[in-house]
């Protein structure tokens, strides 16, 4: 018989004594956030990336308020005051001034007498813009192909996988150079879509395209595994169509993978942009990007090494920041995952 006053619920009575706190439910995102917060190194590099982005976004401000020159403005015969002495921006023998404590030409000038600091900031905008936009393109196509191939399997998978294999078979750089060289002259024309040869969208599309297999294949593998899970079978049994299963069941489970890939992909895209621009198949002059700046500076490696070293340093810092932060993100979102952009 129950003691007097007890509720006749049929459940065992709660212990009497100290209050017990309810255990708060934590979403996987919150857990990931906590894990990421503990990874100070990843956070530091994430912050570094944000600083670099802000630095590049400030290009117009620096250009108008401090340097008073644009990224493509030549100052071949001008002089500036350095320590009370009038000095040519580019000496008559072609050697440009180096870095120094002067607002204009803080990081020196290039062969055309253009302000390296201004070009570095504008070039960073170009490089990061290309990296991010190309990552969007890669991610969109990789997720679409991965989902379709992994969900439908069979001949659909075979066809899509073989197409990816063909693209994969080409070395990324060679494929990028071939496409870049071909498209840089005549531009790209697909139906009503027309892109000029000197448009930034040419390297964006090329870079976005060549990395699709490197992201699509692991996503396809993950979809193949998820496809066998009970919750997917249950959704199908409930009558959900393929599109709904892909979007409501599979995609949410791929989000953490996609985010990590996206971050790492930006870094790879920036490296490929630099390589293509260095080889003349990326960003078209006079537009600056860190890759074009390295290419332009390489002819002056002895007399003006800053022309090469400064953009190289920026690429190293940005790619390092993205890679370390991306790794931290991966560890936080899915500690068991082995996500890598391998090629």
């Amino acid at each position: 018989m129950p003691p007097a006053g007890a509720m006749p619920t049929g459940e065992p009575p709660l212990p009497v004594g100290d209050d017990v706190e309810m255990i708060e439910g934590r979403s996987p995102w919150y857990l990931a956030y906590i894990r990421l917060r503990r990874n100070k190194v990843a956070l530091a590099f994430g912050a570094l990336f944000i600083v670099i982005v802000l630095f590049c976004l400030a290009a117009p401000l620096w250009s108008h308020l401090v340097a008073h020159t644009g990224p493509n403005q030549n100052h071949l015969t001008e002089k500036i005051d350095i320590g009370g002495k009038e000095t040519f921006v580019v000496a008559p023998n072609g050697i440009p001034i180096g870095p120094g404590l002067h607002a204009k030409f803080l990081l020196g000038a290039d062969d055309n007498g253009r302000d390296v600091m201004v070009r570095l900031m504008y070039g960073g905008r170009t490089s990061i813009y290309i990296g991010v936009m190309a990552a969007f393109i890669t991610t969109f196509f990789a997720v679409a192909i991965g989902l379709i191939a992994g969900y439908y399997r069979g001949w659909t998978d075979s066809v899509l996988s073989r197409v990816l294999d063909v693209i994969w078979a080409f070395p990324v750089l060679l494929l990028g150079i071939a496409l870049g060289t071909a498209l840089s002259v005549g531009g790209l024309k697909i139906g009503p879509l027309e892109i000029a040869g000197n448009s930034l969208w040419i390297p964006i599309i090329i870079i976005g395209f060549v990395y699709v297999p490197y992201m699509a294949r692991p996503i396809r593998g993950e979809v193949l595994a998820l496809r066998e899970k009970e919750f997917v079978e249950a959704a199908i049994a409930q009558g959900k169509g393929p599109i709904r299963v892909m979007f409501s069941e599979l995609l949410p489970n791929l989000i953490s993978t996609i985010i990590v890939f996206f971050t790492l992909n930006i870094a790879n895209n920036m490296l490929l942009e630099a390589a293509l621009s260095f080889l003349g198949a990326g960003v078209r002059p006079p537009n600056s990007s860190w890759g074009t700046m390295i290419e332009e500076g390489s002819d002056r490696i002895v007399t003006a090494p800053h022309l090469t070293l400064v953009p190289v340093l920026m690429i190293v810092l940005t790619v390092l920041a993205l890679n370390v932060f991306g790794d931290g993100l991966r560890d936080a979102l899915n500690p068991k995952a082995k996500i890598r952009m391998e090629h």
């Binding site: 071949l76 015969t77 008559p92 023998n93 072609g94 062969d111 007498g113 040869g197 002819d299 490696i301």
Partner: protein, 549 residues
């Protein structure tokens, strides 16, 4: 000279790596050095051909101008001296008929090629026939010879306009129309006689024909290296009275291809190599100038760098707009892009070319005046495409030019295309957006018609392979070009006529010229630097190389 453009570009990319070996010999010679020994140098790009009828690059002509001697040749010397046409294998300058249509040469007697074969008068028409059979780039220079086009078209077995008598050594050349440039054309490598055992229609770069000059090609290993050695039969040429042809001082010259520009220059600095065909890279140039001033110097070269302006469509169909560009361009600024190797000039003809006069029609840079002219002209189209090629200095020149045009209010698109297809692209009139862009021209021979006739005459506008990029067609000036071409350069008033022509074209601002590129001589300590000759036609003169004591 189309192919020579590439050389100018390669001028910024140089490398040397070869070994010079000292050898002994009798002292003497012109410059106080010693006779004999070997020198070795490098070139960035192996010559296009080592066959005299085919070679059409500075690398090629520099290598073989002491190997194959035409009937007439260019005097050995520095600067303007080297542009003088003098007898080569011919006894003297030719007799020219009063109507200017018949040229009579006489071959020197008793001369032999390096393999001992006698040099015969009929070797000259054979060489001209080879030009056409090989479809050489130099063939158009000789189309004025009567019957040449029939031979080229396969309608005749020989060129009717050339009669050669091996017994007397007489060579009579009949032209279809008088030409003021024919003597220069006879002095080109293309017209150098070769033995008739040389295959008529096969490139002989790997097995070059026997030589008539002071050197013979003893080894040709394209694209790696070639070697010149003293021609044992050259004495027969000198004994025949060829006093304008000097004998080489060194026994052997080896030229090796090396694509690494910095390594080449550093090899000379360290005396591991003796000379370089191309100038040192811009990056090393200032240090070389300062540190090795006793064995480095700039050399004049006959060329003009300019921006072409399409005279046939807006905005550059308006003379005021073209003049505005000339006012805005700053040759001193462009000189910095050339690393100080540009002689600033706003004339069509370069220094060293007969008819050259320093021009100051558009003093500046004067952006205000340029903007005022454009405001006056009020062109209907300000949206233009600026063309240049992808070689480093050309890209910089294009970027500078685009910035200048932007500052004048144009909306510009910079189009950069591959150097190997650049001139054929802008020389194709069906290419869209041909507004303005980079160009240069290196002389084929030191005659002003090599500039006006090819680059600015209305009749030189062709739908493809066009050289008249501005598409200039001014009837009065066309007539002046034709009239001057019928006269010899030595005729009274002809040089002044060309100078006036230059001024007339620049008053019309058909181009925006900005300067003339200088080349360099840079040698090792082993070479008697002061004695090295630099020809305005062939560049370095290998016959002048001499080792120091």
């Amino acid at each position: 000279m189309r192919n020579l453009r590439k050389i100018a570009a390669l001028a910024m990319a140089t490398a040397l790596a070869a070994v010079g070996l000292a050898a002994c010999g009798d002292s003497g010679g012109g410059g106080g050095g010693k006779e004999g020994g070997e020198v070795a140098g490098t070139v960035t790009s192996f010559p296009d051909y080592l066959d005299p009828q085919l070679s059409y690059t500075l690398e090629g002509w520099e290598g073989i101008n002491n190997v194959y001697i035409p009937l007439l040749t260019y005097q050995h010397g520095n600067g303007e001296e080297s542009t003088k046409v003098v007898p080569g294998l011919a006894e003297s300058m030719p007799d020219i008929s009063p109507d200017g249509l018949t040229y009579t040469f006489t071959l020197r007697k008793g001369m032999k090629y390096s393999d001992g074969t006698p040099i015969k008068a009929s070797d000259f028409p054979y060489a001209i026939q080879r030009l056409f059979k090989l479809d050489s780039g130099g063939a158009p220079f000789y189309e004025a010879i009567a019957g040449a086009t029939d031979y080229a078209d396969g309608k005749a077995d020989s060129i009717s306009g050339i009669q050669a008598d091996d017994q007397t050594g007489k060579i009579v050349v009949q032209l279809e129309h008088s030409s003021g440039t024919f003597l220069n054309e006879v002095a080109l490598m293309f017209a150098a006689p070769v033995p008739q055992s040389t295959p008529l229609d096969k490139d002989q770069t790997s097995t070059p024909p026997p030589a008539s000059g002071t050197f013979m090609i003893s080894n040709s290993d394209p694209p790696n290296s070639y070697t010149l050695e003293k021609n044992p039969q050259f004495k027969t040429v000198q004994d025949a009275g060829a006093s304008d042809l000097p004998e080489a001082h060194v026994d052997k010259v080896t030229v090796t291809q090396n694509k690494n520009q910095s390594a080449q220059a550093q090899a000379i600095e360290q005396n591991q190599s003796d000379f370089m065909v191309d100038p040192p890279p811009a990056d090393l140039l200032p240090d070389i100038q300062n540190t090795y001033s006793d064995r480095f110097r700039f050399q004049e070269s006959i060329n003009t760098y300019y921006f072409w302006l399409n005279n046939t469509k807006p905005p550059f169909d308006n003379v005021q707009v073209r003049q505005a560009v000339n006012y805005a361009i700053d040759p001193a600024a462009l000189n910095r892009i050339f690393g100080g190797r540009l002689h600033p000039s706003q004339a069509i003809l370069p220094p060293g070319m007969p008819g050259y006069e320093e021009s100051n029609l558009y003093p500046g840079p004067d952006l205000e005046k340029a903007k005022a002219l454009i405001a006056q002209a009020h062109p209907s189209d300000m949206d233009i495409t600026v063309w240049t090629d992808d070689e480093p200095d050309r890209k910089r020149i294009g970027a500078y030019y685009q910035d200048v045009l932007n500052s004048l209010g144009f909306q510009t698109t910079l189009k950069i295309i591959g150097g190997d297809v650049y001139f054929t692209t802008i020389g194709n009139l069906s290419t869209p957006d041909l507004d303005t862009g980079f160009a240069d021209w290196f002389q084929d021979y030191p005659h002003p018609n090599d500039f006006f006739g090819i680059l600015l005459a209305g009749e030189s506008i062709h739908p493809t392979n066009n050289q008249n990029f501005s598409q200039t067609d001014i009837p009065d000036l066309n007539k002046q070009i034709s009239d001057l071409d019928t006269k010899q350069l030595t005729d009274p008033g002809v040089e002044d006529g060309y100078a006036a022509l230059d001024k007339s074209f620049m008053e019309q601002a058909v181009w925006a010229p900005y300067g003339n590129e200088k080349f360099t001589t840079f040698t090792s300590d082993r070479v008697a630097f002061d004695d090295v000759l630099f020809s305005l036609v062939f560049n370095l003169d290998y016959s002048s190389f001499q080792l120091t004591d």
